[in-house]
Each structure stands twice: as structure tokens, then as C-alpha cells.
């Protein structure tokens, strides 16, 4: 089975510092994957590369069935190809309502002219409502996003990802700052989403990763250290060294 996204041999250097060092990592079409690693392991930079924000010095990023290279494409083109991204800090449009936030994310033509001529339709409205239902914000559609709680903002951002109907979701620390109940709900939202598309979760919190119950990739100093089930990687001696060594230093 061909892969949805193949990253191979990618290197990125910032001012002499190798943030990503010969990184190779693949994702299948519908899988849930967790990426863990200590600070500075290159998790966020990896996401920046896939979404087009950072251009790698070398390596390949191949996407989809047509084996399209994502390098050289702009952020918006990559997003239109079906790669959605949630940032570490919840970034929703706080001045606008939940409905407007979702409507903006909804999979529709993105050119200025079609946006200008956009008419509200029943189909769109029901799609917005179903996404809102999924993230538990159906009652809050008319509320301004800035008024939402931290957890709700995280969900709204995940909802915006869902509304994009992506084929790959990159989710950066979705559970940060959430109560245990909220984490529970976040887990179920992500697992649900992973049924239709690939979901890649970058997370610090081992407890949350354990709850996701999926394949785990450990990044360290810009490359893959270990891959497999959580139990497998946590028993790996090198991983223990990296984590514990750091933790005790």
C-alpha cells in the first residue's frame, strides 16, 4: 500500500544548528500516529516543513497517490492539497463567531472571487452544524470565539481542521492545558477523525499518548530515534536514556 506522505532524508539548518538531521518518516492513508520527543527534537520544525512554512536544505517530501513533491509549494497550496494543521497555541479567530470560524475553514473554493460571491447554502450550514456537534460546540455557534474557554478553543481549532476535510491532520499538543474530562473528549474526537484521514499528533504528555493507543514515533535531535507501540518505544534503552538522561540532568 502506497503511503500518504513520505518524508525522506530531510535536513534543516538554522544558523549552523541542525534542527532536522536526515529525517525520514512515513504516514499511511488512515492512521493515528503520535510523535513524541524532548524539547528541541524538531517536532515543530517537522510540521513547518510539511506545511511549507520552512524550506528544507535537502531531502524529499512526497505526497499522495500522484507522488507530488510538496517542496516549493506555498502554505496555502499545501493546505488545499488536504494537509491541515493545528498550532500548539490555540489560534482561532477570536473576533469572529464559532460559526464564522468554521465557515471559513469549510472545504469550499478558496479564490477571492468565489469567496466574494459566496452564498450561504443549506448544505454548508448542515456541514458546519455536524462539525460543531462533533466537537461539542453546537450550542455555541453564535458565540464569539474569544469568549470560549481554553479547551473549547482547542476543540474549535480541531473542528476547523475537520471542516477542511483534510487527508492529513497535523495536531500540535492538542491536550495542553486541558482538564482530564476535556482530554477524554479530545481523544475521542481525534480517534474518530483518524477513521477517515491520517492524524499525526505531536504530544509531550505520555498519559495522553497512551490513551490515543497508536503507533508512536520518537524524535531526537532532528531524526527518528525509535518507532512502534508506546510500550515498545518506552522499553527501548536509547529512548530511556534520552528521556531519563534529560530528566535527571
Amino acid at each position: 500500500m502506497s503511503m500518504l506522505l513520505e518524508v525522506s532524508g530531510v535536513c534543516v539548518t538554522f544558523d549552523g544548528f541542525r534542527a532536522i538531521n536526515n529525517l525520514s518518516i512515513n504516514f499511511a492513508k488512515a492512521e493515528l500516529r503520535a510523535i513524541i520527543g524532548p524539547n528541541g527534537a524538531g517536532k515543530t520544525t517537522f510540521m513547518d516543513i510539511v506545511t511549507g512554512k520552512t524550506k528544507p536544505d535537502e531531502g524529499k517530501v512526497i505526497w499522495g497517490d500522484q507522488n507530488m513533491s510538496l517542496l516549493g509549494m506555498s502554505e496555502s497550496e499545501i493546505a488545499k492539497e488536504g494537509i491541515g494543521r493545528k498550532f500548539q497555541k490555540p489560534t482561532v479567530f477570536e473576533a469572529q463567531t464559532v460559526r464564522q470560524n468554521l465557515a471559513m475553514a469549510l472545504r469550499n473554493p478558496r479564490s477571492p472571487f468565489s469567496v466574494l460571491m459566496h452564498k450561504k447554502t443549506q448544505a454548508n450550514a448542515s456541514r458546519i452544524e455536524s462539525v460543531a456537534d462533533q466537537i461539542g460546540l453546537l450550542d455555541s455557534l453564535t458565540r464569539v470565539a474569544g469568549e470560549l474557554s481554553h479547551g473549547q478553543k482547542q476543540w474549535l481549532e480541531i473542528g476547523m481542521l475537520l471542516a477542511q476535510e483534510p487527508r492529513l491532520m497535523l495536531v500540535d499538543e492538542p491536550a495542553a492545558g486541558m482538564t482530564p474530562e476535556e482530554r477524554e473528549k479530545t481523544t475521542s474526537i481525534l480517534r474518530e477523525a483518524a477513521k477517515t484521514c491520517a492524524v499525526v499528533v505531536v504530544e509531550h504528555d505520555m498519559e495522553f499518548v497512551r490513551r490515543l493507543d497508536c503507533k508512536v514515533t520518537v524524535l531526537h535531535e532532528g531524526s527518528v530515534l525509535a518507532e512502534g507501540s508506546l510500550d515498545h518505544v518506552t522499553s527501548d534503552q536509547t529512548v530511556i536514556d534520552v528521556y531519563l538522561g534529560r530528566a535527571h540532568a
Binding site: 538554522f14 544558523d15 544548528f17 534542527a19 520544525t45
Partner: protein, 647 residues
């Protein structure tokens, strides 16, 4: 005769007292007729004798003679110097210089030398003056020769070189002789040698001499005469336009004049008969074609001259050769002169480039001074301060006010620099405390708020100091310029600004890199939260940094005020350029500001050089260039790289 003169002069100089027994009056009496009614030819004898006599009183006599102040007493034929005193004449004895009792003008006959004679007298005077014991007179004589550049001056000048004591004046005389020889040397060899000697000299007067030798006159001929010293054969259509070539033919009466549209019109107007001309009614004559038809009809009737047909025009042009003819007939001399001109031009071009570079350097220093304060507030702190220009203005006005109280300009400037720093430092800190502190996370609003302060300060300055420009006078030792040669020169004030800019660069690098304050500033810039947790008070650091940036603007104001005028709008003139400097150079980096200032300074001078008539255009093109430049290097010349530079 020139030789005799020379000999006489030399004799006179060596043995001044040899003929002292003779008086001036004696010589004049010998030539009574020539003195009283001098002619262009006859005057030479008198002058020769006067020069030969070597009498010191000959000089004032010649001056008086030239100024028509010499009279002859009718009764005894004696000559006197006379000035009118009412109806009477005040007389002076020519030998003793004593006053002679006044007399009635009727008893005297004036000597009235005509223009030619006076010129001859003037030449003789020059000979005297060139050897005058008073150096100022000698200098004046040399300058007079340099102005007139006449053939007759060559030998007296040459003769006076050996005895010249002042080395500078001697060099000047030698140089002048060289130029005169290039122009009037006896034979081709001397002239060519003189010309070649001149080719190392860049000065304007040497170039004028060479240009005079290579002066050309445009000429027309069917066949170029063989003895002509032709500078260039002009190809019609390339070196000279058809219209111009034909106009020359017409001027030389070698072709019939073209009938211009205005001439057609006048001819038609003159020949209107019963509301029509040449069979066409007047109201139809509102196109050039109709007018041409009417004119041709008139020409057929012989009322006006025929229009020149295009074929005739072409034939006339083809039949003649247009060429430039050297006024100087000797082709060896003109060749040598054009070669010397080319050599000089190359040299001048090199010197001009060097001069331009100096100009650009001093402009860059000014931009650097204006922008360096901004580089700190904008570059390091990320605060847009539109009132930065007004801080520059405040500094300049501080200097002006201090000069009102301290009359010694040197002391005034030395006092003004720290006081300007203190004043603008205070203003900066006040502004930071009252306004900017509240807007750190709203950069666009900082821009607008500081703009509000900017217009208020500008108007306040206008209300206090008026709209007139105020002078900020530099001390005397900064007047004048450092001159390398006739092309390269730089005023001391610009050098001072350059030095000041260097000092500031060093100072700021030192403060930022080597002091506790610099360390804390960098810490606060990079991570205010972390800095605060390490015991650094970010509030205080921000305040001090802003004060420092503003204070430097004040000092820059004093420097700029010395160089330009102090007005309430002077800040506004520098603000956009200053921002450009910082942005082009790369934000957050002192070296970047230096690079930006250099780029903008050199670029502006470079564009001005390409289009020298128009500073406004130069600025327009420069800004367009900067807009394009930012396309390719959005982060400036010295860009911070990596994740730190990302938004």
C-alpha cells in the same frame, strides 16, 4: 623687440642704479610729442626707454598715464600728474612726488592715450609689476596675466621667474609660462613640449588653455581644402541632424531657406485678396495641407519664393561636406593638445569618482547619524518612533539656543553635544514612560501615537522659534575644505560628521556588546520574561534604551544642524530616509544600519551623478530602488537567520 625688452628688463634688474642720473622728466622731455599725443606705434619708444631707465617713479607714472592723469604745462612743456580739484588742477611732480602749487586747467594740455595705447601701457605696467618688491602687486600681475592670456605677456613673465623669491609665486609663474608657451610658443616643438608638460595638470585653467588650442569652427565646403587642419568630418544624420546641416547651408547662403509653417502663414496673410488666397477661400485654410496648396499657388504666380523640395534638400546636403576645422592651423599642436585633453579627462574622471565617493561617504555618515538612534529604538526594541525626526530637530535647536548664550562657537558646540543628548534623552524617556510603554504590543498604534507627538512637537517648534531657518554656526576651524587637487575636495565639516559617525558606531557597539546595560538590553530584547526572572527590570531597560536612542538623535541633530539649516521641519526630512536605512540594512543590527546608510548614501550620489540636474529625481529613483531591494532581501542586508528571525 621682445628680446630687447627682455634684455633691458634684465639689465634694469641687475643694475638698478646704473642710470639713476637720468630723471623721468628728462626721458619724457625727449619724447614730448609721443607722450602728449601717443599713437599705437609711437608709444613703444617711450615705453622702451622708460623700462630701460629702471626708474622706480616710472611705475606710478605709467599708472597715471594709463588713467589719463598726465598733463603738460603749456608754458614750459613739463609733465605733471594732475587731479581735478574743482576748476583748478592739483599737480604732483613726477620725479619727487611733491605737490606743486595748484594751477588753472586752461594752462595745461591733457595727454589722452587711446584704448590701444592704454593697453600697451598696461603691458608695460605688467612688466614692472611682475618684479615689484611688493608681493601682493606681483601676485595681482600674475593673476591679471592668467585672466588675459596674451602673447605679449610671455617674455616678461619668463624674465621675471629667475628673480622671483616667493616659491609659491614662482611655481605659479612657471606654470603660467607653460600655458602661455602652449598657446604662443615660437615653434611647434616648444608648443608641443609645453602641451605635454601640461597633460598632468587637472586644473580648470589648463583645461581652458587646451580647449582654446583645440577650438573648432564648423565649416562647409564642396571639397575640404588640403591645407585645412580638420578636426572631424561630420556625417549628416549621425553627427549632425539633417535639419541642422541644412540650416547651416542656408546660413552660409549655399541653399535656399526652407519655408517654415510660420512663414507660410505670414505669406498667406500678406496675400489675402477678397477673402481668398491662391484660389482657396480663407475659411478652408485650417489645415497645413490646405495652406501648402495655397502657398504653392502663390509661388506659381511668382508672389512668393518656391518651397524647397525634399529632393533639392537632399541634393544640397549631398553636395557639401560638413566638417569641424581647428582654429589652430598646426595639426601637430592640435594632435598633441587633444591627446593631452584625453589624458586629463581620464584623470579628471578618476578624480571625480574619488570625489563622488567622498561625497557619498559623507552623505552616508549623515544618514548613519540620523538613523543610528532609530536603529536602537526600532531595531533593538521594535518600537516605531515617528517622532525620531523631531528629536533630531530638538537637538539642533538646543545647539542654536546654546549658541545664543555662548558666543564662542567652539565652546558652544562642545557644550551643545552633551546638552542636546540630555534634552532628547529626557524627552525620549518621558515619551517612553507616558506613551510607548502602554503600546509595546501594538506596533501600528505606536506608529500613530508617535506620529501625533511628531506633529505636535513640530508645531511647537514653529510656535517657539518661528518658521524661519535658524543658523547653527560651526566653529572657524571647521570652515574650509581639505583639497587634494582641483577636483577632489571635502569640507572639514563633512569630515567632522564622518568622524562623529565613526565615534558613534564604536560607542554603540561598545555599549551594546561590552557593557552591563548592553547585555541587559539584549536579554530583554530576546526574552523579556526570562530577563525579568533573572532580576533585570525590563521596564528600566526599555526606558534607558529608548532614552539612549533618543539622546543619540539629539547629538545627530547638532551635527546635521551644522551642515544643514535648522528648521522645524528638518526632522521630517530625515525620517523616511532613516527608516529606509534601518530597514534596508537589516533590523536589530548596528552593522546593518551602517550597511544601509552606506548603500543609500552611495546610491543617492551615484544616481545624482547619472542625472546631475535633478536631486528630486535621484531621490525618487532611490526610493523605487529600495522598494525593489526589499523584494529580494525583505530582512535587509544583514539579516538575522533562523527561527529567531521568524515572526
Amino acid at each position: 623687440m621682445r628680446r630687447i625688452l627682455f634684455l633691458a628688463l634684465a639689465l634694469w634688474l641687475i643694475v638698478p642704479v646704473a642710470t639713476a642720473a637720468q630723471t623721468l622728466q628728462d626721458i619724457l622731455q625727449t619724447h614730448q610729442e609721443e607722450v602728449l599725443k601717443p599713437g599705437r606705434r609711437s608709444v613703444g619708444v617711450v615705453l622702451d626707454d622708460l623700462v630701460a631707465s629702471g626708474l622706480p617713479q616710472a611705475l606710478p607714472f605709467l599708472e597715471a598715464w594709463r588713467d589719463r592723469e598726465i598733463v603738460q604745462r603749456d608754458s614750459d612743456g613739463l609733465f605733471f600728474r594732475a587731479t581735478e580739484d574743482g576748476d583748478a588742477l592739483a599737480l604732483t611732480d613726477l620725479d619727487t612726488g611733491e605737490t606743486v602749487p595748484a594751477a588753472v586747467s586752461d594752462d595745461f594740455t591733457e595727454s589722452r592715450p587711446n584704448g590701444g595705447v592704454r593697453r600697451a601701457i598696461g603691458d608695460a605696467l605688467v612688466q614692472f609689476q611682475l618684479s615689484d618688491p611688493d608681493i601682493t602687486k606681483r601676485r595681482a600681475a600674475v593673476e591679471a596675466i592668467a585672466r588675459s592670456m596674451d602673447v605679449s605677456q610671455l617674455s616678461p613673465l619668463e624674465g621675471s621667474i629667475d628673480t622671483e623669491e616667493d616659491p609659491a609665486l614662482k611655481a605659479q609663474k612657471t606654470r603660467l609660462v607653460g600655458m602661455l608657451q602652449a598657446l604662443f610658443g615660437e615653434n611647434t616643438e616648444t608648443r608641443v613640449a609645453a602641451i605635454e608638460a601640461l597633460s598632468g595638470d587637472l586644473s580648470v585653467d589648463v583645461r581652458a588653455v587646451l580647449n582654446r588650442i583645440t577650438a573648432t569652427t564648423p565649416k562647409i565646403a564642396t571639397e575640404v581644402p588640403e591645407d585645412a587642419n580638420v578636426a572631424q568630418i561630420l556625417t549628416v544624420g549621425e553627427d549632425i541632424t539633417q535639419e541642422e546641416a541644412y540650416a547651416r547651408l542656408v546660413a552660409a547662403e549655399l541653399a535656399a531657406p526652407l519655408i517654415t509653417k510660420a512663414a507660410v502663414r505670414d505669406a498667406l496673410l500678406a496675400n489675402i485678396v477678397d477673402g481668398s488666397v491662391g484660389g482657396i477661400t480663407v475659411d478652408k485654410l485650417d489645415t497645413d495641407a490646405a495652406r501648402a496648396l495655397a502657398y504653392d499657388a502663390l509661388a506659381l504666380d511668382g508672389l512668393v519664393a518656391q518651397r524647397v523640395k525634399d529632393t533639392e534638400k537632399v541634393e544640397a546636403l549631398a553636395a557639401h561636406t560638413f566638417y569641424l576645422d581647428y582654429t589652430e592651423p598646426d595639426s601637430v599642436v592640435t594632435d598633441a593638445a587633444s591627446k593631452a585633453i584625453r589624458a586629463i579627462e581620464t584623470n579628471v574622471a578618476l578624480s571625480q569618482t574619488a570625489d563622488l565617493a567622498l561625497d557619498a561617504l559623507s552623505l552616508a555618515s549623515i544618514y548613519f547619524l540620523a538613523a543610528i538612534g532609530l536603529a536602537i529604538t526600532f531595531g533593538v526594541m521594535g518600537v516605531i518612533n515617528m517622532a525620531h525626526g523631531e528629536f533630531i530637530m530638538m537637538g539642533a535647536y538646543t545647539g542654536y539656543v546654546i549658541q545664543l548664550f555662548i558666543p564662542d562657537y567652539t565652546i558652544a558646540i562642545l557644550v551643545a553635544l552633551p546638552v542636546a543628548f540630555a534634552v532628547t534623552f529626557g524627552a525620549g524617556v518621558t515619551m517612553e514612560r507616558l506613551v510607548i510603554r502602554h503600546l509595546y504590543h501594538r506596533p501600528l498604534e505606536t506608529l500613530l501615537a508617535t506620529f501625533g507627538i511628531s506633529i505636535a512637537l513640530q508645531q511647537l517648534a514653529k510656535n517657539i522659534f518661528g518658521t524661519q531657518a535658524r543658523p547653527l554656526t560651526s566653529p572657524e576651524w571647521l570652515d574650509g575644505a581639505l583639497v587634494f587637487n582641483d577636483v577632489i575636495a571635502i569640507s572639514y565639516i563633512r569630515i567632522a560628521i564622518f568622524v562623529l559617525a565613526l565615534l558613534f558606531l564604536a560607542l554603540i557597539l561598545y555599549v551594546l556588546k561590552r557593557t552591563r546595560l548592553g547585555l541587559e538590553v539584549r536579554a530583554v530584547t530576546q526574552n523579556p520574561g526570562m530577563a525579568a526572572s533573572m532580576g533585570i527590570n525590563p521596564d528600566k531597560i526599555n526606558m534607558l534604551t529608548f532614552g539612549l536612542g533618543s539622546g543619540i538623535a539629539g547629538i545627530a541633530g547638532v551635527a546635521i544642524g551644522l551642515y544643514a539649516k535648522v528648521t522645524s521641519e528638518m526632522g521630517a526630512d530625515y525620517i523616511v530616509q532613516s527608516f529606509m536605512t534601518v530597514v534596508v540594512g537589516g533590523v536589530g543590527n548596528v552593522w546593518g544600519t551602517l550597511a544601509g546608510a552606506s548603500l543609500i548614501g552611495f546610491l543617492q550620489k551615484g544616481i545624482e551623478w547619472l542625472n546631475p540636474s535633478n536631486t528630486l529625481a535621484a531621490q525618487t529613483y532611490m526610493i523605487l530602488f529600495i522598494i525593489l531591494f526589499i523584494q529580494f532581501r525583505p530582512k535587509g542586508i544583514v539579516a538575522l537567520k533562523g527561527r529567531a528571525a521568524a515572526d
